[in-house]
């Protein structure tokens, strides 16, 4: 997938646990885990806003677009 989720990097920078972030954002740890592992199909603006607010970061710090080297 071209979209890379760097939530774990931001969590490490802020020295925060996934469960704590989930609690502060107001979504389940299970859903946040789905987002972190890159299995999510989409992210709501409200969720993104809450994550950015909690982690004091920009959306670009969490979501990174990477061009695929291999073309099919």
């Amino acid at each position: 997938m071209a979209m890379i989720i760097e939530l774990d990097v931001m969590l490490a920078k802020r020295k925060m646990k996934l469960n704590d972030l989930a609690e502060q954002v107001g979504i389940t740890a299970q859903n946040l885990s789905v987002l972190k592992s890159g299995r999510a199909k989409a992210i709501r603006f409200s969720t993104l806003e809450a994550i950015c607010k909690t982690l004091h970061c920009q959306p670009g710090d969490i979501l990174i677009y990477q061009e695929n080297d291999i073309e099919y």
């Binding site: 859903n31 789905v34 987002l35 299995r39 989409a42 709501r44």
Partner: protein, 194 residues
């Protein structure tokens, strides 16, 4: 009582009803096979008890009527030859409906297994058309080749409004299952929106 528990209760009732209908149908064929008298395309058993009279009968409809009459004329039992084949699609449909309502009873309403059973019910309708058309031909061929029939039985191929009706019903059920499958895919995708 929430809606799913209502569905569960009604499904349980429908399951009992399906078992009753399937049992009744099998009993009717068994009684007619053992004790029935055949006139034309109608097999019948009459009961007289304490001045009260009742009867059960099975009549083969337009597509199989001609063959049932011809078989009866040549002293074959149409209930045995046609009745067994006629009851197979019903029993298959009851089986898939029973499985479907078992899932509803468990509260599983929108799953891939539900879609599979609904598609199977549609396929039974399509198989029913093939059976309605080709089974009489097969029976006649077997009886002709084995030489059991005294006079040559008529070769009847019938494709009429009954088969068209089965096709329309089967197609509608299949499309509904298809739409349900798409809905499940959308639901699964929605679950991955965080």
């Amino acid at each position: 009582m929430n809606k799913i528990s209502k569905v569960s209760k009604v499904s349980q009732f429908i399951k009992v009803l399906l078992l009753f209908i399937a049992g009744m149908q099998l009993c009717v064929y068994l009684i007619l096979f053992l004790f029935g008298t055949t006139t034309g395309s109608v097999s019948e058993v009459s009961f007289n008890y304490l001045g009260m009279s009742s009867s059960i009968h099975v009549s083969f409809d337009s597509s199989w009527q001609g063959l049932a009459q011809a078989l009866a004329e040549q002293h074959f039992n149409p209930v045995f030859i046609l009745g067994i084949a006629d009851s197979i699609p019903y029993l298959l449909m009851y089986f898939f409906l029973y499985k479907l309502f078992s899932l509803y009873q468990q509260g599983l309403v929108f799953t891939e297994v539900n879609v599979k059973y609904i598609k199977n019910i549609a396929l039974v309708f399509f198989a029913w058309i093939a059976m309605n058309v080709f089974y009489p031909v097969l029976v006649v061929f077997i009886l002709r080749l084995s030489g059991i029939a005294e006079d040559p039985l008529p070769l009847i191929i019938n494709l009429g409004s009954t088969e068209l009706r089965y096709f329309v019903i089967g197609a509608i059920i299949y499309v509904m299952a298809w739409i349900m499958s798409e809905a499940i895919a959308l639901q699964q995708e929605q679950e991955l929106v965080i």
